[in-house]
Symmetry: C2
Subunit: 320 residues, 2 copies
C-alpha cells in the first residue's frame, strides 16, 4: 500500500465539512483507493467490469439447471446490451468488456480430468491481465459460465477442506437431485488431487478458464496499482487461489457483496473478508461488483469534491 | 399499493435473461417502485434529495459538539456545492433542494417548552409537501439541524418508551458529559407530556420543524404516488410519527441504511423495518438515502432495460 497517499487522504478527511468518521465505510473506501492506486486524491475515472466467459465440461454431470448453450447466448446478450450487467454499468457510467475464453470449446469435466494443462492455464492467467489495458483505474471481476458454481465449490473444497456438501449450492436453480450430482462431481474432482494442495495446481486441475483469468488479473492489478472489486461466489474462488498463495495478496481487493449462494459466506470467513453489502444476489456477470463500484465512485467523489471547514467557513467541533 | 403494476413487474421479471430471483433485493425494489408509483415499468427520472434545515433551542442545554451557527454555514455549503450530499447527488444524477425552515430562528428548547404551536406545526408539515413539486418521482429525506439527534431521541422515547439513555447517542461527536445532558434534556422534554401520546402532539411538543416537514412529506408522497427513501436516525423520527398514526403509513418508504447512531436500529425494530445496507454512516443530509437512490435507480434500470429470454434468444431453465 502507498502509505503516503493514505496519510494524505486522512489529513484531508479531517478537514472536510462533516463530523469526523461520519461517512463510515465511504471514508474507508477512499483510503483503500488511495492505498492501492497510489493517488493522494482518489478518483475513479475509468472503471471497468471485465466479464470472463467460458464453458465447462462438468455440465455433462448434470450439475446445472441451464444448458451450456446459454454461455454463447449470454455473450451475445452482453454484446447487444440486454443483460442485467449492461443496465448497471450504464447506471453508474462504468465500462464493460467481455472476454471470450473459448466459449465454444468446454474444458473437460473436472470430475474426470484436469480442466487445463500447464501452458493453457498460464496463458489464460496472462490473458486475464489484458483487462487492465487502456488506463483502467478500477476493475470489477465478472464471469459467465454455466456449471462454474460447481467448479468454484471444488476449488473451495480443495483449499479449505470440509465436505463437498458444505460448498455446493443451488447455483442458477438446480433441484435436489442436481444438488447431489454437484456434490458428487466436487468430491470426484478433489479426489483426483493428491494430499498436497498447491494453489495453482488446484486452479489448473479442478478450476476453469474464467477463474484462471481472474486470478491472473487480481495479481496483475496489484502490480499495476489498480484496485479490484470482487463479485460473488465464483469470482471469490479466483480470489481464494491468490489468497492461498499469499494471504496479503487480496489487500487491494474489495469484496462487494454476500452472495445468496449459501457457501459464499463460509468462503469469505476462511479468508477473513467482509463484504460491503448483502442484497441477496446470485447472478454473477459482475453484477454485485458493479453496484459496489457505484458506491466506490460516490465515496471517491465525496472525498475529493467536498469543501473543507476553512474554505467553506464552517465552524469546527467545539474545542477542536 | 397498485396491485396491477406489481403483477406487471412480476410477469416481466420472470421473462428477463437471468435465473429467477437472482437479483435479490433489486427485484424487490423494482416491485416496490411499481407498487407505490403505479407505473407498470418502474423508472426513476427525477429523483430528489430534499434537505430540511432548521435550528433547535435545545442546543442551549449543551447537547451538541457543534455550535448552532453551523446550520446557516452548512446551508451555504449546500448552496455552494461543497457538502458530502452534493457529491453523492452528482454521482447518481439526483437533484438536491434545501428548504430553509427559519434556520436563524431556533425553536424553543424542548426541555422547557413546546417546539411549535399548532398552526406552526401544521404549516410546517404542509411546507414539507412542497418538495414534491415539479414531477419528482423518487424523494429522499434529508435534514440539517444541530441538536436534532436529541429531538429525535425525545420523539422515540415518547412513542416507544424505555429510558432516555436508550435513545441518545453521540450524534456529531458529543463527549460523556454532553451525552448525560442529552439524556437529561430528553427526560425533561418527555416529562412535560401527559400519559397520552398523540403522535402529532409528540411531534409538535418535543419535535422540530425539519421533522414536522418530513412527516408531512411522507404523508403527501403516499397520496401523490411518489416512493420515499428514509435516511438515518433523524429522518426515521419523522417516519416514526407517521407510523404511530398508521402502521401501514410507511409501506411506500424504503429505509436506506442503519445509522451508526446506536439507537437507530432499536427504532427500526420497533417499526419492523429492515434497512438496505449498513455502511456505518451518521452524517445526515440525506447522505445514506442518496446512496440508496443510486441502488434504486440501478434496480429500475435492470428491470426495465433487460432483454427477455425470447427477444435475446437465450435458453430458459431446463424443463421450464
Amino acid at each position: 500500500p502507498d502509505e503516503g497517499a493514505v496519510a494524505a487522504v486522512r489529513a484531508r478527511d479531517a478537514q472536510l465539512t462533516k463530523p469526523a468518521g461520519s461517512l463510515g465505510k465511504l471514508e474507508d473506501i477512499a483510503e483503500w483507493l488511495a492505498a492501492w492506486s497510489g493517488k493522494d486524491t482518489p478518483k475513479v475515472g475509468r472503471g471497468l467490469v471485465a466479464i470472463f466467459a467460458t464453458s465447462h465440461g462438468v455440465v455433462e454431470e448434470g450439475v446445472s439447471a441451464f444448458p451450456a448453450a446459454v454461455n454463447r447466448q449470454m455473450v451475445e446478450n452482453f454484446a447487444a446490451g440486454g443483460a442485467a450487467i449492461n443496465q448497471i454499468c450504464r447506471s453508474f457510467d462504468i465500462g464493460l468488456k467481455v472476454f471470450d475464453l473459448a466459449v465454444d470449446l468446454p474444458t473437460p469435466s473436472i470430475a474426470r480430468e484436469d480442466a487445463m494443462d500447464e501452458p493453457n492455464c498460464a496463458a489464460t492467467m496472462a490473458y486475464g491481465m489484458e483487462a487492465l489495458a487502456g488506463g483502467i483505474d478500477l476493475i470489477c471481476l465478472g464471469e459467465m459460465g454455466i456449471g462454474n458454481t460447481t467448479v468454484a465449490a471444488a476449488i473451495f473444497h480443495a483449499l479449505f477442506g470440509g465436505e463437498p456438501e458444505e460448498w455446493v449450492g443451488r447455483g442458477t436453480g438446480v433441484d435436489d437431485e442436481g444438488l447431489k450430482r454437484k456434490a458428487g462431481a466436487v468430491r470426484a474432482a478433489v479426489a483426483r488431487l493428491g494430499p498436497e494442495r498447491d494453489p495453482l495446481e488446484v486452479l489448473r486441475r479442478v478450476g476453469g478458464r474464467e477463474i484462471a483469468a481472474m486470478a491472473g488479473l487480481i495479481i496483475a492489478a496489484r502490480l499495476q496499482r489498480v484496485p479490484v472489486i470482487v463479485d460473488g461466489f465464483v469470482t471469490t474462488a479466483a480470489a481464494a487461489v491468490v489468497h492461498a498463495m499469499d494471504p496479503e495478496g487480496l489487500d487491494h481487493c474489495l469484496f462487494a457483496h454476500l452472495s445468496s449462494e449459501a457457501a459464499h459466506g463460509r468462503a469469505l470467513q476462511h479468508m477473513g473478508k467482509t463484504p460491503l453489502f448483502d442484497f441477496g444476489m446470485r447472478l454473477g456477470e459482475g453484477s454485485g461488483a458493479a453496484l459496489a463500484a457505484g458506491i466506490v465512485k460516490a465515496a471517491a467523489a465525496t472525498h475529493s469534491g467536498m469543501a473543507t471547514f476553512d474554505t467553506a467557513g464552517v465552524s469546527e467541533k467545539s474545542g477542536a
